[in-house]
Amino acid sequence: MVSTPSRGPVAETIPKLLQRNSSEFGSSPAYRVKEFGIWRSWSWNQTEKEVESLSLGLLQCGVETGDHIAVIGSNRPELYWSMVAAQSVGAIPVPVYQDSVPEEMIYILDHCNVKYIIAEDQEQVDKVIELGKRLKSLKKTIFLDPRGLRKYGKSELMSFSDIQKLGLAHREKLLPDLLKRLEEQNAENTCVMLYTSGTTGKPKGVVLSHKNILAASYSSSQFDKLRQEDSVLAYLPMAWVGDFIFSIGQAYCTGFCVACPESADTMQTDLREIGPTYFFAPPRYFEGLLTTVMIRMEDASSFKRLVFKNFMDFAKIVGPKILDNKPVSFFERLKYTFANFIIYAPLKDTLGLRNVRVGYTAGEAIGPEIFDFYRSLGINLKQLYGQTEAAVFITQQPDGEVRSDTVGIPTPGVELKIDEAGEVFYRSDSSFVEYFKNPESTKSTKDSEGWVATGDAGFIDAASNHLRIIDRVKDVGKMSDGSFFAPKYVENKLKFFPTILEAVVLGDKREMCTAFINIDLTAVGNWAERNNIAYSSYQELAGNSEVYEMISGFIRDVNLSVSKDPMLSSCQIHRFLVLHKELDADDGEITRTRKVRRGFIEDKYSDLVEALYNGAFQVDTRTEVTYEDGRKGHISAELEIRNVEVFEPKLELT
């Protein structure tokens, strides 16, 4: 039976939705997790009970309305319950990136003066303990996995299960209070506080009310006709707004099932086992997956490769049409059906994407051929545009009008406007309440009429009437000759080459554009193997002249395509170098969500920048690096710089 939940918010808070689901969808699965070799499941009923006992436990610990409760760890049902339990008792859940080092954590935990921390395991608890005294407001730390924590006999440490036992023990006494708090809540209460990893400066705490979350969740769920029977794999960081919307917002609105992988390194196998019907992944995931597909096919028998290539080429033409219900000839449909049995379906199956009904990617531009690859297989992969402040959804692509270069039409309930500077603004019920303890940036982002500045430059594509994003407004600069400088636009074109992991284009207020290139070790390494090029380290590979050859070839192509667009033709790259180390979040060069920190990089590698512009062809440099355990070290290298051919702008009118 297909039960699409009744239209419009039936409940005004997440905890109330939980009650609704428990009564409506009762025994159907709410959460799954791969644990001890099998998928353990919880129905909505059980979930409600789990959350209740946890809430009672929190009450017993003395949690008060408005307290902030940090949740640190990888995706586990218990941690999702923790957030809902926190909401139930009127506290505010604050998910934190589990891979952030204590130094990054302290700011957030201190900024929201956290009262309680619910941590996954020893690793996280250790970080908290390391911060120790500096967390003045901290009352109690609750841990999920007791492993290795026995000997830390600290009173302010308590295990998750003990909290639940505690709650159940005092059920009679506490239940009235819990119900009272649930009643008092309304749509305006804070649902969650998420810290934006901010490409510049300190992270900001985005306060999202239940109204925001539910509005976004409902409209988007209806936009894509999500069903209660759907299922999703929750593997993206819990601190990221997307995961909150998918795994809690939409899950609670439509009542679909959230599955958590066994561990980070089994994600791919777990994905295949679960075979979700609704799937989100950042472009880099699809890039990586495509790369591995191609690499694995390299080793296939020549015949198989031939068939594969033929069918994939065929799919590129017909697949999207079929997906968009455009007319195709009978023969084409026949061949597609056959190829589907032989190649597409098995491929989708092994990738675990066979059942995907709605797939999204966002956050970065995705390479056209990558995008088309998945769509041609018959996977309904779409793009959306959003940000934390909007509880994700600003625009998304409707079925049947999907393109790789746009981000779609406004999500129902969202108003869009673009100012003369080209910056995109939006207004909706889902736009955030405020930045926590930060009125001035709240003011600067959200005006009195509720219009929120995205900070992205974009325009409405005349042909498709979809929104199209060029770049961050502040990154769209002017060259010294006054022409337009949009680095991201070029970088994305570069990053579409599987061998290029990251690219940083420079040239603001300068006479020409240059670039740092980061090679992708897997792809290039493989390429090196096949052309038997020996290398002992990332650095050596990066410095290899043949690699340089290949890269400059790609850049030349990019220049050619850029030159075709008169507006941006000045953004062609004249000189480049291949960086001797991977840009790394631990070194602050990119954000946890892998956005390039342009300014930071420019002054960290000022010597290289200078070399790019003083015409040198060699440059020695010494760089500081941070190892996983937080130690610092230095690597020095001699880098080569190369020139690349640039083209005259073609003034054909397109």
Binding site: E35, F36, G37, I38, R147, G148, R150, S263, D265, T266
Partner: protein
């Protein structure tokens, strides 16, 4: 050895170690004319990590083989849980709650990681042949109960991704881990580890030490191990027995051993890493 007379004992890091679990008294083991072990006595106390060290051919492995019944010493007694142990076959000793791993891995190459560790549950499984053949009721239930116990060990040792891989195909380090898992599955009172870190790189050694300590702490399992890497031994052992040419030349806490002149001359003098 003043320690042996005390019935409780405090380690260097201040943990209190329980009463004697196993004690060997005056063990002498000969192969033909050769004397592998000569009149050795020491005790292993509940909940401690006991290390046996010594140069190659000092008779360490033979000592383990005596404890779990492969060799039967010509002289001496083995006391387990305060009872004099009559000569037994290894499999009977397994039922008494002593498990072990081997210096050169002794896994069942033809079976998956899961099955290997499942075999470790053998002493806990009792359903009869007919029940097994019909795969109904008790037999099936027993199987799944034990499967879950095994899965917890797999989770504990962080080897989920190789759960169904044939162990023959695993890299050395992982095989060692699986073997430890198999020994753990028996939920032993006393766990004997014969050079658990032989041939491992630094990282693997760190992991293994962590696992051993966690085992000792989580399940309160008493551990007796042979190890060459002095660094490791000094880190994880509560007490150390030092053997040389089949004789015991030292017994005490790592600190004491470091100070023990005889030991220094006989053993620590030579670098073993």
């Amino acid at each position: 050895m003043t320690i042996a007379t005390q019935d409780a004992f405090t380690t260097d890091d201040g943990r209190l170690i329980g009463p004697t679990l196993l004690e060997v008294k005056g063990i002498t083991l000969k192969f033909g004319g050769v004397t592998a072990i000569e009149n050795i006595s020491f005790d292993i106390r509940e909940g401690e990590v006991r290390a046996i060290i010594g140069p190659n051919g000092a008779g360490k492995s033979s000592m383990l083989n005596v404890i779990n019944g492969f060799y039967h010493p010509q002289e001496g007694e083995v006391w387990f849980k305060n009872e004099l142990r009559a000569p037994m076959k290894p499999y009977q000793i397994a039922y008494q709650g002593i498990a072990r791993t081997f210096q050169n891995i002794a896994l069942f190459k033809g079976m998956s990681t899961l099955d290997n560790i499942m075999t470790g549950r053998f002493t806990h499984m009792s359903s009869g042949i007919l029940a097994q053949a019909l795969w109904k009721g008790s037999a099936e239930r027993e199987e799944f109960v034990n499967r879950e116990k095994v899965e917890r060990i797999i989770d504990f040792l962080e080897i989920q991704q190789i759960r169904k891989t044939e162990v023959g195909r695993l890299p050395y380090g992982l095989q060692k881990r699986v073997e430890l898992g198999r020994a753990l599955a028996a939920e032993p009172k006393l766990l004997l580890l014969d050079e658990p870190m032989a041939g491992m790189n630094v990282e693997e050694k760190e992991d293994m030490s962590r696992f051993i300590l966690d085992v000792n702490e989580e399940f309160g399992t008493t551990v007796a191990l042979i190890e060459h890497d002095m660094g490791v031994v000094m880190d994880i052992a509560d007490r150390v027995v030092v053997m040389d040419y089949g004789k015991k030349i030292g017994d005490g806490t790592p600190v004491e051993i470091r100070k023990n002149q005889v030991v220094i001359d006989a053993y620590l003098g030579i670098s073993h890493d």
